[in-house]
């Protein structure tokens, strides 16, 4: 591409199929939003083999939901026609591709980039259902090998790519995720609960599955029951796979605490309830064993909620020096982090830390994420605008 010319970009938007845009779908929505504003790009969106036109993508982004794509799906042309159309217009040989999900294990376009979220399926397969591991990893090496440029979402994932797959650093562009927390919503929630007496609670945000490591928190509460005299502990997230929350509660002898409401399990929470829980919590506790980034940490920091964070993988890249770290393998380490937080809360030192955390969160921008991706896809050029 030369300065001032147009370019064709094929984008796999698989994650946008989700009904609610949180996590990865939210990331892809942010990228697509910016792509749609580019006048120099001819965009070709592929979602699960369907060619989705710009207007439909824009509608999904507006609704923050892919629900509309499922209705009247017959109106979409097969995505295979994208290549036919590009060939007819003479643009096929110069087309660039961005894969945001599982990609074909062979190269189809001139230059291809792939987002890589994390390699936990490879490095920690025991934390995932076996069928998912097989599905995700069976040809991952080929997907990686045929991508010209890879966009890991953290330095940690980049390091894993280099170590596991021997990817040369020159093919890697770290695209840290951004902060798009809707402060209007959280401020509204804060206003709603401002004058109400809220008993102190810790928020454990994340689905119930082995990788998210809720068991560590329950084991901690079993060993340190006094903690529940100071705070309630609220687990918010859907029951995913592995041991159920109830099973774990029984295993650690915490049925009484659950029945008494000192431990609360909400199940899935929507964005509004999540915002309310985040702003109301004394701290967010994130015990995850393995992350590609750690968006919930960023969300908590953005709204001024202190974070007790696992020190694993990418999470320190998000939290920096603005949180209380613990080893996700160690109950005593978690307890020590909690005691530090509690001491700082009593002394007032916590206030300064959360202010710093807010500033840090503001430094994470999807504009930066987007710029890294565009520069990786179109290297050595200055896209118009």
């Amino acid at each position: 591409m030369t300065a001032g010319s147009r370019a064709s970009l094929y984008v796999d938007i698989g994650p946008l199929r989700e009904t609610f845009y949180t996590g990865i779908p939210n990331v892809i929505a942010e990228i697509c939003q910016r792509l749609l504003q580019e006048g120099w790009l001819d965009l070709y969106f592929d979602l699960d083999g369907k060619w989705i036109d710009r207007a439909d993508v824009a509608a999904c982004l507006e609704a923050r939901s892919g629900a509309g794509l499922g209705t009247d799906a017959g109106r979409f042309r097969p995505a295979a026609e994208i290549r036919t159309a590009l060939a007819a217009s003479g643009a096929l040989d110069d087309t660039v591709a961005l894969y945001t999900d599982h990609r074909p294990p062979r190269k189809l376009f001139r230059r291809e980039g792939k987002l890589v979220y994390d390699l936990s399926m490879i490095l920690a397969p025991e934390c995932h259902p076996a069928t998912s591991v097989v599905m995700y990893t069976s040809d991952l090496d080929q997907q990686i090998a045929c991508s010209d440029v890879l966009f890991p979402i953290s330095q940690s994932t980049a390091r894993d790519l280099e170590w596991v797959y021997g990817v040369e650093p020159g093919r890697i562009r770290v695209a840290l995720l951004g902060n798009n927390v809707d402060l209007t919503l959280s401020n509204r929630m804060r206003a709603l609960i401002a004058d109400r007496p809220v008993e102190p609670f810790l928020l454990v945000l994340g689905s119930i599955e082995p990788r998210k490591n809720a068991a560590l928190v329950l084991e901690w509460l079993a060993q340190q029951p006094d903690v529940l005299d100071s705070v309630r502990v609220v687990f918010a997230g859907r029951q995913a796979w592995g041991d159920t929350f109830e099973t774990m509660v029984d295993r650690f002898g915490l049925r009484g605490a659950l029945d008494a409401g000192r431990i609360v399990f909400t199940g899935f929470v929507d964005e509004r309830l999540k915002a309310a829980l985040l702003v109301g919590a004394v701290a967010m506790l994130y015990p995850s064993m393995f992350e590609g980034f750690g968006l919930p940490l960023l969300e908590a920091m953005a709204v001024g909620t202190p974070v007790l964070s696992s020190v694993s993988t990418s999470m320190p890249e998000v939290v920096g020096g603005c949180g209380y770290y613990f080893d996700p393998e160690s109950v005593s380490s978690l307890h020590a982090a909690f005691r530090r937080l509690w001491a700082d809360r009593a002394s007032g030192a916590l206030q300064a830390l959360t202010e710093r955390a807010k500033q840090r969160a503001n430094g994470f921008s999807y504009d930066h994420t987007y710029r890294v991706i565009i520069e990786g896809l179109f290297p050595g050029t200055s896209p118009p605008g």
């Binding site: 490879i122 920690a124 025991e126 080929q142 082995p210 020190v311």
Partner: protein, 386 residues
């Protein structure tokens, strides 16, 4: 005191409260880990086990764990299960027992590319010379031979015991210790060879089989199935016992006291732990001269069983599906001949053979040898700046 961050757990063992993995070779790798652990502690290291070394990537993680300059990461587990500890020198123990390594990428998953994986180590600690020659033959240059110290089994009390306690049953007994996982290997040479030797020997022969790594209720059907697979109707003189874990010194000495010879028909070996323990306890050895057995025991120190090189079946080693692998399998006749040769040895001659083997092993896998090896290891890492 420097810290060795040691990772030995695999798969479901890495889960919170996870059960012991059923990965083949688990018993053996656990034993190896404990031996290395004891060796490094004796050499002045503090050992801290970590289940997931790969997650401690950031400076904050290393600070939280108290990682200091001079600390190392030691991985003692099968190659496909190894994960790195970024920011620390990574020492990977390799106990590979076949004459070839898998190498290259597709269609191999990343952790099945053994040569590639070993090349990412700062140093590969080979358990024996055979393994090192295989590893080096596949282009992995950063290796040393550093078997763990394998002490001679010590009696539970320190009372004077100038001689091994003797068995009480007449005739000769051959002791064979098998990992339950090894039942996927051909059992016919052992059983048919023993039956033939028993028929021909001038004295009664017994075969004591100790199956480790499985509780009896699990191991019995495994053994029965393995015996059935040999097609042999009945083999007299075989006495079977089970142990869920490698036996401790006291139990080992009792077991060794029941036997006149230790027998290993293994077609492939890394570090032959049962052979070493038996030989260090003074039991003469009858064994296939393969892998680590051959490099650790000089000729004349044991009665060798003749072998022939054949392809490894997938049932015994899944990697055989991706690459040609061979091992050195004894024929039943070779086992028979070796048993009869052993049975014909005069007691003093068998004693001299056993003493020579014990001496060779003391020099190779004794505490002093390990301490000397650790010095080499330190020099190597300081030279490479790891």
């Amino acid at each position: 005191m420097p810290t060795m961050f040691a990772s030995a757990s695999v798969r479901e063992e890495r889960m919170r409260g996870g059960a012991r993995s059923v990965l083949p070779g688990r018993t053996r790798w656990t034993a190896l880990f404990h031996l290395y652990q004891a060796g490094f502690v004796a050499a002045g290291w503090r050992i801290r086990t970590v289940d997931r070394p790969e997650i401690y990537q950031a400076a904050a993680a290393r600070e939280l764990l108290g990682v200091m300059d001079g600390d190392w990461h030691l991985a003692v587990k099968p190659l496909g299960e190894i994960r790195p500890f970024h920011g620390l020198p990574n020492l990977f123990v390799c106990d590979w027992e076949y004459p070839a390594l898998s190498a290259g990428r597709a269609p191999l998953a990343p952790f099945l590319d053994q040569a590639g994986l070993l090349n990412r180590a700062d140093l590969v600690l080979c358990t024996n010379g055979f393994t090192e020659s295989v590893v080096r033959g596949h282009g992995v240059a950063r290796t040393i031979v550093l078997p763990p110290p394998v002490p001679a089994p010590a009696p539970p009390d320190l009372a004077e015991q100038p001689d091994r306690p003797r068995r009480r049953t007449p005739g000769l007994a051959f002791l064979c210790i098998l990992d339950a996982d090894q039942l996927s290997r051909p059992l016919r040479p052992l059983l048919e060879g023993f039956a033939a030797a028993r028929a021909a020997a001038p004295v009664p022969l017994r075969l004591l089989v100790r199956l480790e790594g499985a509780a009896q209720h699990d191991a019995s059907p495994l053994w029965d199935a393995a015996v059935a697979a040999t097609g042999l109707d009945r083999v007299d003189g075989v006495h079977l016992s089970f142990a869920p874990d490698p036996i401790d010194d006291a139990a080992a000495l009792l077991l060794f006291a029941e036997a006149d010879f230790f027998l290993s028909c293994s077609p492939a070996e890394g570090l032959p732990l049962p052979v070493i323990r038996a030989a260090r306890a003074g039991l003469p050895v009858v064994a296939t001269p393969v892998g680590g057995t051959e490099t650790l025991l000089p000729p004349g120190c044991f009665v060798p069983i003749t072998t022939e090189t054949v392809a490894v079946p997938e049932a015994a080693e899944p990697l055989a599906a991706f690459m040609p692998l061979s091992w050195d399998l004894p024929r039943p006749g070779a086992v028979r001949d070796a048993l009869l040769q052993a049975a014909a040895l005069e007691r003093p001659e068998a004693g001299r053979m056993a003493a020579a083997a014990a001496s060779a092993l003391r020099g190779a896998v004794g505490r002093d040898a390990f301490a000397a090896g650790v010095s080499v290891l330190r020099r190597h890492l300081s030279r490479t700046g790891s």
